[in-house]
Every structure is written in structure tokens, then in C-alpha cells.
Symmetry: D2
Subunit: 407 residues, 4 copies
């Protein structure tokens, strides 16, 4: 007996086993109509099978959206302006996609008159939090059904049994290429959890990785690329203007070829446990390196340092699911304010897992002034004698402290 | 005519051209006795020639100290407990050595009854600040002579003319291996500035680098190493206990072999200008990666996040020369408090510039609990239903805000 | 039917109506033995009636502890070293007492072999969180019963009916002095919530306040007091050495007399809602003002600023119930490290709600150097010319930015 | 012999002794034309005498500007949106006026073709830094003459002798009301430094204060006022719409009457020394209290906490003279973003030095929801059971840590 009375629910539906079981379970358990929503955010899977299956399951309202441009333009790009990195390692590939899904779920609920949304995230992970915080903020009255927290199908066997019992096709899950890992992919990354990763001392097998070449198999010759930035965002690769999604797809292609962007980390989930995850983020890894290089030339020191100090918190907000929140909006205002001047080009060399910056320039906004910094005579651009007073006044409080033998 | 009346000055003396000229200049200009101090901090140069030259210049009190263990144990190791990284890229190799030199200069001044210290850092750089802030804090009454800010020998030609005029040998500067770059080396790193680096769009030549192999020339087979941590510090490599300086020397050797630790950045100096520097930090690059991995398993989430938020400021303090300061001491107390539990082993794979963590474990202090995190049934270690309340209360303020259409 | 199987539970027991009902309810609902724990933390109530009532209810193990000194020494004093203030206004009077209660509940559970603890905090407030986070951290296996989140006695009528039905005396609640507010008192403060405060536009009646005089009724003559600090803690008032609890009791007495320490605020609870509370913290208000004054003379600028930046987070941690946490311990290490030098005396004037600092001195640790700061000639203690270089180098990045018309 | 070749200089000119001497000294020492600039920023002095004196000194270009509205609207109001408070006590009354003066000096230099600016701030204080950082950022090529750092008139006697020698009238300095303190006044505050304040243990005499009544002499009846806020700024008092400068003038009047806004502190100057200052900021003291109250009702918790954490840094920026800087602009963007919703009314009671909030409301933007927070039954607005999961997941990491006996 469900806790809530639901008339119509919008389900984030991939067409895979789990969400197919959920679709049936919602129909049965809640006796309600189900609207399916399937999004292309660059996960690299066919979406039409999801339509076919939804139709077969009696779904009348089926949404299949290509959200790739919106995803990169409105979520990935703003995040990269912040140089966001969770716990020093994780580029937030899964985290940043969830609020977009939440937003569309709520929009579709409004369009279809649904009173609830549902998703296939488990009760142990961060994704449930990200979906639901996003949805609650955008529609405070929405009801949310999280089957994994309600049902008793908590093992794979029970799930398969339920599928068989209700005629849900699972054939695709039995072919040889099925990964034993729990995976999540979108234009920004591909991730792996579970299976042998559950022992953090064990190195995953070489065949786990799907998006990137092993650096050992990557080309023996480095490749050089040049990225053009406008207001902190990449707008061209090697001189070719591209849309945000095109940029990221292309950087994924090139980066993956060169074995770039693998990470293997133990991270702290918002729900309180440590977990181990492996990530492939080829394009994002290049973007972070390049953006920092572009900023190093164009951003003022103190603005850059302030960004660095705020970044861990900004990254945590996104990791924890607070994209749609007053505090993220507030931080974004500060970050975006600094990016007006982040214009120019960065040149990078890619080689067997390495991303190396080999040049950065900005015709309009460089703050690098060789006439000041030069080791040669500077014709008066800088008076070395100024340093004496600078040091002496900065030292004043230390000298006073030193007289008290504190240092 | 010098501004100050000096009786005896302790000079940080390398035996190279610049400090040899300074030695003579101090004797002439200030008419004072000069004590030379030459330290082995792992720069990889013979120190005895400095003694010979100092003797030849009439110096009576000559200090030549091996500070390698003190350098790594009391400066490098504490800094790495903080995962310090300046502006997201720089491992602070030069910055962290300066306070140790300042400390010894002040100690030797006390021992020899000198009333001043002197150094060869220019008026444009950070090092003058680091030397002098350190010295002023440790001895508020010390006088400091910074010849580069006083004299008129501001070009290489004038310096060479002065050397020739005073019979200062410069032969070693004319051999074919002399680098056109301004370099600084110690056990933690080797750095390059000036020359063609003054154009940030220009890639430095392959022959600039001295400590690390080009990744393309590095071995084709990865090497695996295992580091043991106690209280946040590495105490053994592949099971062999080592002293701090031994650890760093060995990691430099292995890392350099595998082309690890090159960086090419534009950074913001404390004196207000941007400058471009290239750095080789093979051992340090490995240490940062490994320490984060060790912490990922053993540190509590909130302590780790707080460390991440404080890190940029801690790094700036060291970069700016405030090692001996109340605020660095305060932050170090917080950082060190967290490291009691950072015990265990990290396994890494080194390959052509890449440092990859392949395992981490801690028999005593791991907070990774597979019984909670598992994707399999967890026998009640975690109640998925708890997530509902967790999300609903975290969402409460967002829902209230959402009712005001703020999100 | 209770969700858990409990053999013995330790109840935080005041002897009042609510916890008396809980005592009976636990016995009935869980069929378990109840141990009562009543603490004197300076709330100003007789504790012996609690013993009598517990005995009457059949309780065999009764703990009545005087925790006043431990409360002030180990909780209040460390918190005031941080100048903690939640949301700019609240001195955390309730928050800081909860972890001590949680600690004793867990200790008593261990001593008595109980497998659970229980408390009378509601499901809407912060106190449940503070009790339970503290208890879970100190004993991860403890079970916790929070009756307000379990039972259906959610209105005052139902509670009274239950009391009557089970012969629980409620007479003390019917005398004329019973406040209509929800109150909480301890040595640090007295608080008021609910009733007419639920409209934040309404001013509470003059008869609400219990601990402090209305400033209009306070003495017309100011009173001066002098506090002596050692390592950041007050150790004497007007030259009389006192224990921590004595200090706070005396400052409450004096401060209350002078109408000091009332606050009327809207605050953000950790569980996600805004609530309105009124607080009387006479002694704490004096302590905060005095401690800042003592620090202003003895703390280095940068350490003081760092403390100020960390303070809001430290205050939130305590407000949210994370006293016993790695992050609070980490911050406390930093804070306490700074307090070694916070020694000296502060003189204050108290008058009709005002606390005014009229003097501060430290024979051993003052960093105030009149020979430097003086408006008169300083005999060379400070070279005004140093300021030119100080300003010019601090301005350098601004000038470079100004050339790009950024400012 | 001056270090620079100057043709025309704009002098910040009050007409008092010091700047009159500077005017003459500039004419003599630099042989240049002087433009005088005198601003009304609410200091409460006649400006026409400055014109008369400048004319008498042969000045041809005289600027006398009423900047009161610009001062409050563009400087004071934005700063109060941040709740800025330096070192927990100082409302930045002097600091916030300096960048406006710097801006006008640079503008007038442009208008008059002057190549330099000059001011009367000493080499020991913060004001020189604030003037000069502001000017350098707004015009990187401007030259700055700071006579106090150049000349030898470092005692009052020498200054008076110089004045007498050059026929500069000093009569106004000999009347009985001349304060022995160094004072600075504008619409936001009046300040006192020097004289007996140079001993931080000495209480200043009752006759030092000029703007506020002694609380003991303030009215015996409290006064209630109501402030209306729009986007974080006060737009009306007691229902009467007012301009920014009118608001501040009126709050100064009322606050001063009630003895509000005195502060006596030891502060840390940017140039490295501690100094003691007394301040009267009646209107500002009311504004800070009221703004916090308005925010307490309308701001989201996390945005408010983030503001609190950033505030000390924002206040330091202003104190140190970085109003016109990339980092202040960046922080202001974040702060202003939050203020869109800070709309409503605050009611305050003023009485003998006390400012007490007695009510706050916002018809459009209150986030206070009594249906959730109520102590009465809430008809399902809040499910107390949610708190169980909230606490249990927040406790999870603490329990894991507790199993390692860390807490």
C-alpha cells in the first residue's frame, strides 16, 4: 500500500532493466498513469528503444529530449568557470547532470498535469538527493516516489524475478559486453562503481574503462590543440567555432584518444559514507587545465585567489545536489563577474594521459606585463627600492610579535 | 655611502657569480666583515668550492651546513600535510626553502655577533620577501642588506665588469652547459624563469629541463611503488624505512626517470606582477597525489573539506613568505591535528608523466566501510528509508524559497 | 509496537510534565527498564523533586549530577575563545549544553548496561539533532528513542490526558507563574520560544523576561568591573580568582542587574525552518565583548582575522550539534593555539543594557606599541617613507588592471 | 628638491592648518600649480572658508563638491548590504569615504589636466593607502605627492613655525573648543585618535564625544522607529520616503540623541601597527542591527551564512583601501545578488545606547512560515518523522569515526 495517493507520475526512464521494472511497479503499486521522460545528455545510447518499450508498457505520454546543448551551455560551462573539483580529484560529471533532469521532470509534470515524479536512484547514493532537492526547489508541492527506498526488490535476483514475472525484457543485460560495474555516462564523463572497486586496495582491470584509451595504447606522438575562450567559455577549437556541446564532444574524442582523464578515487558521499569510484572525463580534464591557464594570464591575483578559496564549497554544493539553491546562485554571480575578462587562447599538448599547457595569450585582457617582470633592465617600469618599504611594513607586526618571542 | 652602519654581516653565499660580487661589494661598500653561509638543501652542487672562494675573499667565518634532513622534516613534510598548491599548480618548491635559510642566517648572526644579514635576491621577486620576513620575525632588530635594491649593477654587463675589475672568477659561467634561465634548485624542485619564458605563448625548448626526462623518453613500462604513511608523513618506500630527506631524494629519482612533475605556469607574485615559471617537482608531485589518496581513506569528510578550503590560504602564506607567522602556526595546528589518523599505504603506478593511484589501505584508520557502501544487500548496515527524511529536511528551506519562486 | 527491542534506556529527565510522561510511556511502550539522568547545568531549579518523582515511578537507577563546572570549563569557555556568535546574534546558550548531556547519557548507558538513550526534544527543533549526533559519535551502537517523533501525543491536551490517565502529577504546571513560552535555561542563558513570538512582528511582553532587568529598571549608576584573562579564559573578577562556573554565575548576576544580554531574533534552524527566539545571556554578552577586547591587544592581526573568518562556521557547527566531530576538534586546535597569549585585564562599564570596554592591558603579551603608533614624533621607530614602497607594490596589480580599464 | 617633475597637482583640501601648509609647500617645493578640491561628505563644516583661503593662496581652480548623496548611495549603502564590521567592532566610517575622495581627485586631475594628486594623510595611517590605491587603480599613470612622507615638518611646532613663516592663518586652531584628538568626520561617523587614547587602559573623558549624547544623558523614554527596506537599502523612516543621505542624516540625529553608536577599540592597521580609536556611528549602528533583522526574515539560511563567512574579508578589503579592486567588485556581485529579496520593514526601539529590534516583517519575501515552525499542531506541514532519517544520515560518518574511537 503506497503512502501517497498519486494520479500521474513522470518517470526518468532509460529503457533499461531497472527503470523498466520501476515503470511496471509504479503502474501496479500506485495504480497511476506513468509519463516517461528519456533524455539525451550525451550518454551515447540509442533513445528510440526507450520509446518502443514505453509504448509496449502502455505509456501514453512519452518525452524524449535532446538536452545536450542545454546541458553543456547552462550547467557544464558555468561549473567550469569555477574550476570546480570535488575533493581535489572529481570533476562532478554525474553531479552536474542531475539538476537538469530534475528540472525537466518538474517541467513535464507541469505540462502533463502529473502530481509526482519518480527516478531509479538508490537510497544509498547522492543521485537521489540531487534529483529530489532540485525538484523540491523548483516545485515545492511535487510528490516524489523513490522506489528503491520503498520496495523490497533489494537484490538483483529479486529484480530479475520481478521482471520475468511481469514480462519485462532483460535480454540486453545478458550479452557478453555487460559491465559488472554500476555505470553512469553523459557528455561530461563516464563513471564506474561497485564490483571489485569495493575494495579500495584493488586496481580495476584494464578492460573496465570504456571511453579512454589506456595511455600505454595511446599515440606515440603528442597532439597540439588550441582553444579560444570568450568570457571563460571555450568557443573554438583550433580556430573552428563550435557550440558548447560540440566543444565537449570534440574534446572527449581527442582526449579519449590520448588516454586523458582517468581518475580512481575514494570519495565522501553526502549521505555519509565513503565510496570508491572510477571516472573518465577526457574533455573535462582538458577544460580544467586550459581554463586555469587562461585565467592565470587574465585574472587579477586576488580575484583568482578568492575563486580558489570558494571553489571547494562551490564544488560541494554541486556534489550535494544544491545546484538550484540561493547559495549556488550567489556564488555563481561572483564567479561569472570575474569571467568578463577571461578571453584569449590556450595551446595544449596531449600525450599519453598528459595535458600540458604550452602557451597562453590574450590580445585584449592579458595582465602579464613583461616590461615589469623582465630579468633584464626594465627602463623604470618597476622601482626595486619600493620593495624595501613593502617588506618593512609587512614585517612590522612580525617584528612586534618577534619581540615577544612568539615566532 | 651606505644607509646603515654595519659591523658584521652574514651573507647567504652560493659561491656563484652574483653572491661573489655581493661579498666583495659588502666588504667595499660597508667596510664590514662578512660571514658566509652556504647550505646544502639538496640543490645538487658541490659546496666546497664555496669555502675555497670565501677563503680567497678573506672571509674568516665560513658556515657550510647540510640542512637536507631539517629541510624536509620541518618544512616540506608539514607543508605536504596540507596538500599545499599555490594557484592550483605550483608546489612551492622555492618558497618553502627560504624560511629555513632565513632561520639559519639569523642563528649564525647571533652566534657570530653579526648585526646584519644579506642575500642575493632581486628587488622584483618573492624571495627577498621570504628571506626578510623570516629574518625580521625571528630577530626584530636584525639589519638587512639587499644589494640588488641598493646598487647600480642592474645589468649583467655591469655585474661582469665589476667582477673583472675586482678579480672575481667567472669562468664557470662560460662553459657550454650554462643555462640561459634563472634557476633555483633544492631537494623539492628545480625552477626556471626568464629568457624565452618571458613570452607566455612560447613553449620552452626540450633542453631546458634538467631533472626529469621528457615523458616521451621515459620507460615504456610503468613502475609501481608503495608508500607507507604515519601521521601524514611518508616513512617507507616499498617497505624500506627511510628518513624524510631519503624519501624525497628517492621519489625524485624515480619520478624524474618517469618524466613526472613538470609544470609550466603563469603565477602571481606577492610583489604585484605576473611572471612565468617552469618547475620540476618529481617527488613532490608523487607525494601530493599519494597524500590525498591516503587522506581519502582515513580523513573524515568535513575535516577533509575544511582542509581543502583552508589550503589556498595556507599556500599563499608560504608563497608570500609568512612561514614564521602567527597565522601559519595557527593553521598548522589545525592541519596537524587531523593527521594523527593518516596512517596506511598507498600504491601508485608511474608511467610517462602520469602518477596513478592504484590502491590505498589502512589497517588501523580506514573509514571506508564496504558493508555500508556496497551495491549488494547490506544486512541492515544502512537503512535506505533514512534517506527520505534526510532529503526532505535538507529540502525544507528550498521548498520555502521555491514557494517564493526564487529557484 | 516499538520498532526496536530495548532492555534498558537512560532518559534525560527533568522531572517536569513532558519527561514524566515520557518515562511512563517508555516503561509501557517498550516494556523496558528506565534509568533517569538529571543534571544541574545551572538552570536554577531544584533537582531533588526529580529524584522523588523518579522513585515514585519505579525507577531503580537514578543519576543526579552537578555538571556546572564541567559545563563551563569544557564547553562554554572553549566556545568563547572562538568569539562564537550564530548568525551575528545568538550566543549558542542552548546549543552548547546539549553535547554535555549527550556525553553523560552515553556514559551512564555504559555504566548501567543500558542499550538505549531517550530525550524529550521534539522532532522540529535543533536539540534532537544535538543530542543524537553527540550520542551516535560517542557510541555508534547506541539506540535512541525520541518519543516526540514516535508517539501520537502531539498536542498539549493529549499529553495532559495521558498524564492524568497514568497518575502523573501536573500540579506545578498550573500555578500562576507558568510561562506560556517554551523555555530552556542553563548557566549560560535562558531562552523563550513559541506563543506570541510566533509572529515576528510582535514585541514580547515585558513580563516574559526572567533573568535580566528591563534596562529601564536597571540602576542609574554604571558599574565598573575588571576581568582577568589567562590563555583566553576569565580567571578572576575584580581581582578575585574564581572557577569557571563561579565566573559565569557572577557575571550573570551583575549583567542581569544591569539589563544586559537580551536578544530577540529570527534564526535558521538546522532542520530547515526559520524560528523566532528570545534569549537572555547576561554573562555571555559581557564575556564576548571582553574577550574581543583582550584579543584586540594581544592577538596578531592575521591570526585574529583568520579567527573571524572561521568563526561563523565554528558557530554553525555548534548550533547544528557537531561539538563532538572531527571538524570542531580541528578548528578548536587552531583557536586554542592562538590563545596562549591572550593574557591580561579588561575593564568594562555596565549600564542599562550597555557593556562598554573602558580599558585593556597586558603586562606580558600586549602587541600595542605606542612608540610606533604615536601621533607625536617617534624617534625613528617607524620610517614613514616605507609606506611609499608598501603602497606602490600593493598598487602594482591595480595599476596593471587599471590600464585595462577594469576599475 | 622634489623627486618628481610636476606641473599641476590636485590637492584634497579642507582649509585647515595641515592642508593649508601643504598647499603652500606644494607651490614652493614643486613650483607647480595647485588645484584645490574640497568635498562635503557630511563632516558638518562650512566649506566656503576653504574657497576664501584657497583664493587667498593664489589657487585658480577651486572645486567644492557636495558628495553626500553619492557617498551614501554608492559607498555606504553597498557596504551595509554586506553587514561589514572590521574586527568585530568597527563600522568603517573613515575607510568608506576615502575611495570616493580618490575617485574625485582623479576625475578633477583629468578635467584640469593635472599630472598629480596630493593629500594630507600621514605615513603611519591607513588613509594614505586608501587614497593612493584608489587613485592608482583609477589612473595608473597618476603621480602622487604625500607631503607627510616627504617633508621634515614632522612635529606640530615645525608645522606652526612653517605656517607663521608663510603667513598661513592658524587662529581657528587656538580657540577653546579645539579637540586634542585627531578627528575625522563624515555622514557615517566621527572618529578620535591620539592624545590620551594612546594608552589603551585609559578611558577617554566624557567631553571627547561630539556627536552622541552620553547614554546617561539620553532620554528616559525609549523611541520607536520603523525602517522600510528595498533590495537591502533603507528607503523610508516611519513611512517617510527619503534619499540615502537623508536616511543616514536622520538616523544620526535620532541615534545621537539616544546615545547610540559609541565604540572604543584597539584595531590593527594595514601598515602593521595596532592603534586605538574611538568612534561615533549612531546611524550606522542602527542600520547594521536593522539590516541583519531584515535579512533574518528574508534571506535563505545558506546564503546568509555564506555572507557571514565572507564578511570579514570584505570588511578588510575596505579597511585596507581596496574598494576599487577586482576582488571587492567580485564580492559585491555576490552580496548584491542576495539583496533582491531583502524587502520589508523593521521596527526598532532606541533607548540610552541600546538598539533593540522589536519586529520585522516582509509581505513579499518573508521565509518565516509559522505553519511549519509552530509549537502547536501543524496539520501536516512538517513530518517529525523526517528528522530521524535526517539525523541518522548526518550521524553516519560520526558513527564510523566513533567506531575508530575518534570522538
Amino acid at each position: 500500500m503506497p503512502a501517497q495517493q498519486i494520479n500521474k507520475v513522470v518517470l526518468a526512464y532509460s529503457g533499461g532493466l531497472d527503470t523498466s521494472v520501476i515503470l511496471k511497479w509504479l503502474q501496479q503499486e500506485y495504480g497511476c498513469e506513468v509519463v516517461t521522460f528519456t533524455a539525451d545528455i550525451g550518454q551515447g545510447e540509442e533513445l528510440e528503444p526507450a520509446r518502443t518499450k514505453a509504448l509496449a508498457a502502455g505509456v501514453k505520454e512519452i518525452y524524449i529530449d535532446d538536452l545536450r546543448e542545454e546541458f553543456v551551455r547552462d550547467f557544464v560551462y558555468p561549473m567550469f568557470r569555477a574550476n570546480a573539483l570535488y575533493e581535489g580529484e572529481y570533476l562532478l560529471g554525474t553531479s552536474i547532470a542531475r539538476p537538469l533532469i530534475a528540472k525537466r521532470l518538474v517541467e513535464i509534470a507541469r505540462e502533463t498535469g502529473a502530481d509526482a515524479i519518480s527516478h531509479g536512484a538508490t537510497g544509498k547514493g547522492n543521485d537521489q538527493v540531487r534529483f529530489e532537492l532540485g525538484a523540491y526547489g523548483l516545485n515545492p508541492e511535487i510528490q516524489i516516489i523513490a522506489p528503491w527506498r520503498e520496495w523490497d526488490l533489494l537484490s538483483r535476483e529479486k529484480l530479475l524475478a520481478y521482471a520475468e514475472q511481469h514480462g519485462i525484457a532483460v535480454e540486453m543485460k545478458r550479452d557478453g559486453t555487460k559491465s559488472p560495474y554500476s555505470m553512469d555516462a553523459n557528455l561530461l564523463h563516464n563513471s564506474y562503481e561497485g564490483y571489485d572497486l569495493e575494495d579500495p586496495w584493488v586496481e580495476p582491470g584494464a578492460d573496465m574503462w570504456r571511453w579512454t584509451r589506456d595511455p600505454r595504447q595511446a599515440p606515440d606522438r603528442p597532439q597540439e590543440i588550441e582553444l579560444r575562450y570568450e568570457r571563460g567559455d571555450i568557443v573554438a577549437i583550433d580556430g573552428n567555432p563550435m557550440s558548447p556541446a560540440q566543444v565537449l564532444a570534440e574534446l572527449n574524442r581527442i582526449g579519449g584518444e590520448h588516454g586523458i582523464g582517468r581518475a580512481d578515487i575514494v570519495e565522501n558521499r553526502y549521505v555519509g559514507m565513503k565510496s570508491r569510484g572510477c571516472y573518465e572525463t577526457p574533455g573535462g580534464t582538458i577544460m580544467l587545465k586550459a581554463h586555469r591557464a587562461m585565467e592565470s594570464l587574465t585574472l587579477d591575483r586576488e580575484a583568482a585567489h578568492l575563486k580558489d578559496e570558494l571553489m571547494p564549497r562551490y564544488a560541494s554544493l554541486i556534489y550535494n545536489g544544491y545546484w538550484f539553491s540561493p547559495e549556488r546562485t550567489m556564488l555563481q554571480a561572483a564567479i561569472d563577474q570575474t569571467q568578463q575578462v577571461v578571453n584569449g587562447e590556450v595551446r595544449l599538448k596531449l600525450y599519453k594521459g598528459n595535458v600540458t599547457v604550452t602557451g597562453r595569450r590574450s590580445a585584449s585582457d592579458s595582465l602579464f606585463d613583461v616590461s615589469i617582470a623582465t630579468f633584464e633592465e626594465d627602463a623604470g617600469a618597476y622601482d626595486q627600492g619600493d620593495a624595501t618599504g613593502f617588506i618593512r611594513l609587512n614585517a612590522l607586526r612580525l617584528r612586534v610579535a618577534g619581540r615577544k618571542r612568539r615566532l
